[in-house]
């Protein structure tokens, strides 16, 4: 006998409940965060593939000091890497914030963890920007 689950027609999706729509309008910020998490993730995949090939398999490849100076002296690379840092930090912080929210920590612990997370992200973003933008001041010996 044929398996009935393979032949049964697919049920039509129920229309969204009114309650869902009302809640959706109240959480535009969350909706944007949800949507932009996908968009930033897809952009980061492209960035990462480009970064991987550029560092390993192109004319500009190399991990030594001189190659790094050559690459980061180029305004286009500076722009790309600063964008990479910002998007990566946004995506990482937003993702870890989601994890924190899921576990419904005690309020003090939640706020404390959030402060540490955002503080660390801002600090390392500053450090990354300062490293990239100070390329002309790096000691050349």
């Amino acid at each position: 006998m044929e398996n009935p689950t393979t032949t049964a027609p697919e049920p039509a999706l129920a229309p969204p409940a009114l309650e869902v729509n009302v809640r959706a309008t109240k959480s535009r910020r969350s909706a944007f965060a949800w949507y932009f998490q996908r968009i930033s993730g897809l952009l980061l995949v492209l960035f990462t593939i480009g970064h991987f090939f550029m560092v390993h398999w192109t004319e500009m490849s190399g991990h030594d000091f001189n190659r790094s100076v050559d690459r980061l002296s180029d305004p286009m690379f500076q722009f790309l890497y600063l964008g990479f840092i910002v998007l990566g930090m946004y995506h990482g912080v937003q993702g870890m914030w989601n994890i924190l929210r899921d576990y419904k920590l005690p309020r003090g612990l939640y706020i404390g963890a959030l402060v540490v997370l955002i503080g660390a992200a801002l600090f390392f973003t500053y450090l990354g920007f300062d490293t990239v933008l100070s390329v002309h001041n790096w000691k050349l010996n």
Binding site: R38, V45, D64, G88, G92, G95, K104, F124, L127, W138
Partner: protein, 136 residues
């Protein structure tokens, strides 16, 4: 939405975590979180390591020489695993959320595992056997 504090005692988190059913999607969900946290921490460490560039050629090249030690090669392979899984599973999540991917999510997860393991083996050859050593 306002933050709502859990009424459950702290000790139950691990029990809730362990109570999740281990279906394919649950494993993908957990691995995505673990790899996401690891990659965020790696981004911090990566920025910190490149700070050595500001200290000059000798300091930076010495630092880079440290990263060629075998233990860092293994770590690099692990990093590649996290990047590959998180990237491909992220694309899978986007197909579920922004398209019709929920109908095929188990199939796409199998593709993620298959391509991921294949790329891991390929990368193991590149990292540990270095067949292009004479090119760089």
């Amino acid at each position: 939405m306002a933050y709502q504090q859990s009424q459950a005692p702290v000790g139950t988190w691990s029990r809730i975590m362990l109570a999740y059913k281990r279906h394919a999607g649950s494993w993908a969900w957990m691995l995505h979180r673990v790899s996401g946290v690891a990659l965020t921490v790696y981004l911090f460490v990566h920025i910190l390591a490149l700070r050595g560039l500001t200290q000059g050629m000798q300091a930076f090249n010495d630092e880079m020489a440290t990263f060629t030690q075998p233990v860092f090669k293994v770590a690099e392979w692990g990093l590649f695993a996290f990047v590959i899984f998180h990237s491909m599973n992220g694309i899978r999540i986007a197909t579920v959320d922004l398209g019709n991917g929920s109908r095929y999510h188990k199939f796409t997860l199998r593709i993620v595992y298959f391509i991921g393991i294949t790329l891991m083996l390929f990368m193991a050859v590149l990292i540990f056997m270095d067949p292009f050593a004479d090119k760089h």
